[in-house]
Symmetry: C2
């Protein structure tokens, strides 16, 4: 029996369902064939009820026996060490997997997430619009030349990059056919479909308890 | 002789000096006692002249023999594997170092850098101001309780977090005494002072060549 536990919220409104980041960790475990459980912290008072596990009041976090770990990006790299289905063993490919994971977090998401946050108020052409388009276009140029980011195969870097790119507002921003094909191909994987369905089912079950 | 090469720009204007991210890698090498060289790509046409090494047209990137690696965060984690002065050997502390490195990149910098970018136009109270203050205050609560992020000692997570927090506009945003003491303590380290002085000297030497 596995000691891996993915912690998420017990319930969220409909909007974020399918996009809560516990999905990243579920998906990685599914790809790697790692057994895991899902446990929850309450949605009510979520910004203060689990600060000892996650100092920014977010989910997910991971426990593996005694180890407690927050940041989905860190969780992915931690899980990747457990399975070469997520990260190749050879040192160069492992370093490049790390590189593209960080790139998804700090070159793409660092621009797309604040842009998306500002566009929630109705203005996609906000102060971050041009920067966002530029970064996405630079990534498009990379994806025009290859199917996968690392070693000509799926890695956890593709998992994370596709998860960053699949946000509907990001996906709809400008015409980037290579990126769109990349997102489609990766989100058709059985492990993604299962993780996605499991997250939806988790929150739907909570609806029934609350109703 | 080391094969480690840190690549940066041959020149930058005065504004970014002391903040170009090659400093992160210089600093890590100085902390770890790793020999390295610095080489350059031209500032002119920087957005397109080294796309094969860095697809977003940025610096730094790192070479180590045949390996090429971009993203300063990835470079730091790569270098951390070479020295326990950057990351403790025990698996729990190593995982927590990874966690806080990712946190600096994806929970703090993902908010502070776009906020800073928007405030360049003169408006610190932009759409990201409240989010930035909230995250920095959450981090302040963490730093009120400890001197270091991991294992009660300096790690590469402190190097990166202090580098993220030492941006003058970030440092000046609200009163956070624990964070300020943390930045001061860490940027007084000999390895930071040397890396900082070396970066300034590198760009000043270029001034003389160009004048």
């Amino acid at each position: 029996m596995s000691n891996l536990i993915i912690w998420t919220l017990d319930w969220v409104p409909e909007g974020p369902r399918g996009f809560v980041r516990d999905l990243r960790l579920r998906w990685a475990c599914e790809e790697a064939g790692l057994a895991y459980q899902v446990q929850t912290v309450p949605f009510a008072d979520r910004e203060s009820n689990h600060l000892t596990q996650q100092p920014f009041g977010q989910v997910p976090f991971l426990t593996d026996g005694e180890l407690q770990l927050f940041e989905s990006g860190a969780g992915l790299l931690y899980l990747a060490r457990k399975s070469d289905r997520l990260m190749p063993d050879d040192p160069v490919s492992a370093a490049h997997t790390l590189q593209w994971v960080i790139s998804a977090l700090n070159s793409i998401e660092m621009v797309t997430v604040p842009w998306w946050f500002l566009s929630l108020s109705g203005n996609q052409d906000n102060g971050l619009g041009k920067w966002t388009e530029k970064r996405l276009q630079q990534l498009e140029s990379v994806l025009e030349g290859r199917d996968w980011l690392v070693a000509n195969r799926f890695t956890v870097a593709d998992l994370l990059m596709a998860d960053v790119l699949r946000i509907p507002e990001v996906r709809a921003l400008s015409n980037r056919p290579a990126s769109e094909a990349y997102v489609q191909r990766i989100t058709e994987r059985a492990a993604f479909r299962k993780a996605y369905a499991d997250q939806l089912a988790h929150f739907e079950a909570a609806d029934r308890c609350w109703s």
